[in-house]
Symmetry: C2
Subunit: 263 residues, 2 copies
Amino acid sequence: MITSQLPTSDTSPAANDNGPSITPSFSPLYQQIKGMILNSLRLGEWKPGEAIPSEMDLAIRFRVSQGTVRKAIDDLAAEHLLVRRQGKGTFVATHAEQQVQFRFLKLVPNSGNPGSEGPAHRDIVQCRRSSASADIARALALRTGDAVLQARRVLSFVGTPAILEDIWLPAAPFKGLTAERLTNYQGPMYALFETEFNMRMVRAEEKIRAEPATQGQAELLKIAQGTPLLSVERTAYTYKDVPMELRRGYYRTDTHYYHNRLS
Amino acid sequence: MITSQLPTSDTSPAANDNGPSITPSFSPLYQQIKGMILNSLRLGEWKPGEAIPSEMDLAIRFRVSQGTVRKAIDDLAAEHLLVRRQGKGTFVATHAEQQVQFRFLKLVPNSGNPGSEGPAHRDIVQCRRSSASADIARALALRTGDAVLQARRVLSFVGTPAILEDIWLPAAPFKGLTAERLTNYQGPMYALFETEFNMRMVRAEEKIRAEPATQGQAELLKIAQGTPLLSVERTAYTYKDVPMELRRGYYRTDTHYYHNRLS
DNA sequence: CAGTGGTCTAGACCACTGG
DNA sequence: CAGTGGTCTAGACCACTGC
């Protein structure tokens, strides 16, 4: 049995400095297990869509009871990092599944259900390599001038353009990403990131504002200049809260609305 | 012990019709316990801010093990209906606490933290009794023409108006609500609903759009007509998913932004 | 110190999946 | 049918709160 604070490399938030510190200085077993599973996920031991070992296997591996492993997995499932399927196993969450496709896209048609319009038509307007400006660098935890990839695309539903997006990615982890790859790939962009670059987006933060369309935006979205657009600035994070994408989206909200659930 | 499907009056979603039906037709014990706790909450057996009985007490009352009660409470705590406090007890969640004040208001100043501007100044512009139009009635699960209360207010931060809100409430549950009461009450409106009308808002759904300010909106917010505003239409629900409030908010987003976390 | 929630265990049995 | 996750129990012990 793991008797006390295991040397779990980097398991719990705020490492255990057992001196006379102010930090919690106590981390339950299941939190340590959680950290170890998280590490395996980050290191790609189990890939998105794959099953992780059964609860019993993990309990044996970590020398704890099944209940403790269970609690760790419960947490990770609540954070949508894992998905439980009764009778089948526990799987690494992925953006590639039909059911959770566009999990981070909260734009819903005024009439009809999410996704009732079928898959969006995607138009890659631009995809180039550049160097990070100060604000882009800050958002991606880079230094000003570091290499980034920048893409611009238009998403259309039933023929009418509804979303204009500018996307910035750190160049290093996404080396080899091209406009062709973006254009040809079927399915969500985040699924491509998973399969091609072993980079999984885990959570995101959005800052939403109402702004008048600039001339350039208006042309691409085929609306009048000055039309109010929903400006959605998203920072997406991979495991361990590392920022991996900055995305500035401009949504038409005459035919759609941004849906949010508060609880 | 509760051996099988107890007559739990109305416990689980989708009542147990034990005929040859398509519904799950199996509800674990902890779900039934959850439903019973939910009923007590709805009926006001324990009021917002108060402690509910200890896990052991509830286990004895329901004739189940502590672990089963624990799982039920875990669920309710995850939905923010209850709040656990180690060493003290489990409490009915409330909108009246400093920490979670304005839990449903996601507007953050461009510079600074949420709440760093101090409490908002509230200005009740209007508060009257009227009859529900078709769309208001639909949102509140009323019939067209039913009595509703309608209020309009302006929220200002550090002197500048930032939010204009139109609020509709069913008249019956909120009988006696006046402009004076709204004006004089210190703290979130939802806290007033709890203490004065025993009505707790549990969750909400929002539809967000970008819209140009009408002349009336522009005057109240002291901005130019046509300025893009964030339009936030919120339906708030009390226990058992009963809609209890419709709110149309118009946010300035030059000094603030709407913050959302995706996970 | 007693009372509360939080962790951990070990074991039994159930529900679901797929071969 | 075996293997998986899901439920439930009973009991031990720990951490936190307040008297």
